[in-house]
């Protein structure tokens, strides 16, 4: 891994189609600038986000994650975000218990009208994770070959035979 000053975090954002995704879209059409470290994954509802998605993102090399959906009461499917919130209430502390910094995994409510809040939130997540540095703990395990080669998850079939 190169030195800290050039580290640019990889952030995965799981966004609900109806609110936050539309909010991020609004920020785009309004030509609001935000840092380019985020990969957005659009999903129908926060209620459909399996916590395993979040672990998988870390496993595949994310340094931080944002999950965001509609404000309580505004869910397109009425209660998806309430159910999601219940899960996060136990899932987040579980990851913290396993030693994952709470700043690496964040949650927000951002509506379709809140382009400004999207910019602020995602910049905040990116800055917080940049300050933490790369999620080396996981990336080291994932790399096949010398520890910390920084390649993230590479399955052995992608790389061909390792034993030569």
């Amino acid at each position: 891994m190169s030195n800290q000053t050039t580290f640019e975090p990889k952030i995965v954002a799981f966004l609900c189609n109806w609110c936050t995704y539309a909010g991020a879209d609004l920020a785009g059409t309004g030509r609001k600038q935000y840092q380019a470290n985020v990969r957005i994954i659009k999903l129908p509802c926060t209620g459909g986000i399996d916590p395993l998605f979040l672990i998988k993102a870390f496993e595949r090399g994310a340094d931080g994650i944002l999950v965001s959906g509609c404000h309580p009461g505004d869910c397109h499917y009425n209660t998806g975000n309430y159910h999601a919130r219940r899960r996060w209430n136990v899932f987040k502390p579980l990851l913290e218990f396993c030693g994952i910094n709470p700043d690496r995994i964040q949650f927000s409510w951002i509506s379709a009208a809140e382009g400004g809040k999207w910019v602020e939130t995602i910049n905040g997540v990116i800055d917080a994770v940049r300050a933490l540095g790369p999620f080396e703990g996981y990336q080291k395990i994932n790399a096949i070959g010398p520890a910390g080669s920084g390649e993230g998850f590479v399955s052995s079939s992608d790389k061909g035979c390792e034993c030569k």
Partner: protein, 281 residues
């Protein structure tokens, strides 16, 4: 007590109230017991009861092979009885389809199992028949219930990560933990799904966090702390700490304790508009 248990079992089988009794039998050495499935009244002498009856027999309520035996009577300690409550709540069994033979107990295992040190269900909270002297259930405070976690929650973030990675690294993905768990009953576990493959099946440290965390998380608000998963883990991973942590969060946030009250709504299949969201931006 053993005599009372045998007599009751015989009665239930003779009267055809049940077709089979799930109980404990003698093992290969005195410190061992094994599960026995008694279908004939003349076999009830195979039943035993002692401090080595650690297993939670309710795991057999979910198995195809044992379900085929017909309506069971099952011997449960206080902790095991909580499983039956959860299984009924989760529509896995009907109350009338199982005969609950509760036994009171003062603790099992040699040395005494951790769960017994903080036990508040010496007398089961649900049963059709109770065998043994009633034991007063002492009420424990929230802090007392989760005292086991204190030293682990206090560790630094790095310390926690290193501790758990060292534990998870040992996991050989044998799935004994989920096989034994009476509340792990999906026909097809997420680890068996390979299109897409969410959890790496190899015993490489890479996918072990996802497996161990997912197993624990799927038991959130459901695990009744029988400690069976930890007991069978060949790698000695303290799975119980993860289960306890989730139980603590479920109780703290939703004021819910699985298996205590058959009228409570299941914590993770409902929500409250007022649920905590301090951590949401």
């Amino acid at each position: 007590m053993i005599e009372a248990l045998r007599k009751k079992a015989e009665e239930l089988l003779r009267s055809n109230t049940v077709n089979v009794v799930f109980g404990y039998g003698e093992g290969s050495t005195p410190e061992r017991t094994r599960p026995v499935f008694i279908t004939k009244p003349e076999d009830v002498n195979k039943l035993t009861w002692n401090q080595y009856c650690v297993y939670n027999l309710t795991t057999y309520l979910k198995r195809q092979e044992t379900r085929k035996l017909g309506k069971p009577a099952i011997i449960v300690k206080g902790c095991d009885a909580k499983t039956v409550i959860v299984l009924i709540k989760e529509s896995q069994i009907k109350r009338e389809d199982v005969y609950i033979l509760g036994v009171t107990c003062q603790g099992v295992g040699e040395p005494l199992a951790v769960k017994c040190k903080a036990c508040d269900v010496h007398t089961p909270r649900i049963y059709d028949d109770l065998v043994g002297e009633k034991v007063e259930n002492k009420e424990l405070s929230f802090d007392e219930r989760y005292a086991e976690l204190d030293e682990y929650e206090k560790m630094s973030e790095k310390g926690k990560w290193e501790f758990w990675q060292k534990q998870f690294e040992k996991c050989i993905k044998c799935y004994a933990c989920s096989n034994i768990c009476p509340l792990c009953f999906c026909d097809r576990c997420i680890v068996e799904k390979n299109q897409p493959q969410w959890i790496d099946p190899s015993a490489h440290a890479r996918g072990n966090l996802s497996w161990n965390v997912t197993r624990a998380y799927h038991l959130a608000g459901r695990c009744i702390n029988c400690e069976e998963c930890q007991r069978v883990c060949p790698a000695d991973i303290p799975l119980n700490l993860l289960n306890k942590k989730l139980a603590k969060e479920a109780e703290k946030n939703f004021n819910y304790r699985p298996g205590y009250n058959i009228d409570d709504e299941l914590a993770m299949s409902t929500y409250n508009a007022k649920d905590n969201q301090d951590f949401v931006k």
